[in-house]
Amino acid sequence: MGSFDSFGEFLSMGGYAIYVWSAYAFFVVILIFNIWQPMLARKKYFKQLLKREQVQQERAQARHNQEEMTNDSAS
């Protein structure tokens, strides 16, 4: 393929395999990190908002129940 005679030769990079492939591996890591991290942050943010809303609803529900109980005992 291309400038190499075989796939094995492509992998060995003329003896520079460890340098070339570690550089390209780090390149891929940087690419993945720059996409994955903001997407994860977005997900976390939505989850956090959902949780906050649920807590607020539960509190409102609890307050409502308490009011009903006091009304019941009053009557």
């Binding site: 400038s3 520079y16 340098y19 390209y24 720059n34 977005r42």
Partner: protein
């Protein structure tokens, strides 16, 4: 042009347009990076002195250029924020720091790895390497400074000032190979300014990777900026609508 910039400074407009632009940008980036990487890794002939090791340059040179461009962008946004108080500029500046940090780290790492067999050392305190390391610390410093403030406004202002002070470092990186007698070589045939030294099959893959990486850089900035918009504008009606439709799917 000015009207377009003015519109872009509205968070809502930025969010909408960037959302529509994203799939096209992603497709173009994938295509350019795919062609450039396969071409550069497998099809260009080996260098007569460095053998196959020079293939690292196809990512090293674009990563370093974009890292410097990212710093300029962060400084411009800082200036726009300080002078005109544009909130959007500060959000983009905030996104620039982590992205620029990773690109600078990539440039330093690929350069070091290339240097081991070529120079016989992975590090030397030469002007270009040192000034690039300073840029890495500036990006990290801006991030640390922002997180050190409890008040959003005070943090933004401090970061903007630090970004502007640090901008003197970028031309030093650029011209270090001309001003000082460095071990790092001068602008190579993979840079935009000098394409005559080598045949096109050597430098063309670098252009594909370069523009592909530029597209990727924009995507990375846009993703972070959009998150920041959702956080800072969470009380506005249009963001509340977005949040309500998205919460269930997270």
């Amino acid at each position: 042009m000015w009207q377009w910039l003015f519109k872009l400074s509205s968070p809502k407009w930025f969010y909408t347009i960037s959302g529509q632009l994203m799939p096209w940008l992603a497709a173009l980036t994938t295509l350019l990076l795919g062609i450039g990487l396969v071409w550069g890794l497998a099809f260009t002939p080996p260098d007569y002195q460095m053998g196959e090791n020079y293939r690292i340059a196809y990512i090293h040179v674009p990563a370093a250029s974009i890292a410097m461009g990212c710093y300029y962008m962060m400084a411009c946004m800082a200036a726009a924020f300080l002078i005109w108080r544009i909130k959007m500029a500060d959000m983009v500046a905030k996104a620039c720091a982590p992205v620029g940090m990773t690109f600078t780290a990539l440039a330093l790492f690929t350069g070091s790895v290339w240097g081991i067999p070529t120079w016989g050392t992975w590090w030397i305190w030469d002007a270009r390497l040192t000034s690039t390391l300073i840029m890495l610390f500036l990006f990290i410093g801006v991030m640390a400074l922002r997180s050190a403030y409890d008040s959003e406004a005070a943090g933004s202002k401090a970061c903007a000032v630090l970004s502007l002070v640090g901008v003197v470092n970028v031309p030093i990186i650029k011209y270090s190979v001309e001003w000082w007698n460095t071990l790092h070589q001068g602008a190579s045939s993979l840079s935009l300014s000098n394409t005559s030294a080598n045949p096109p099959e050597i430098w063309l893959p670098a252009f594909f990777v370069g523009f592909g990486l530029l597209g990727f850089y924009l995507i990375a900035i846009i993703l972070r900026t959009r998150n920041e918009i959702l956080i800072r504008e969470r009380r506005t009606d249009w963001v509340v609508d977005i949040l309500n439709t998205n919460k269930g799917f997270s």
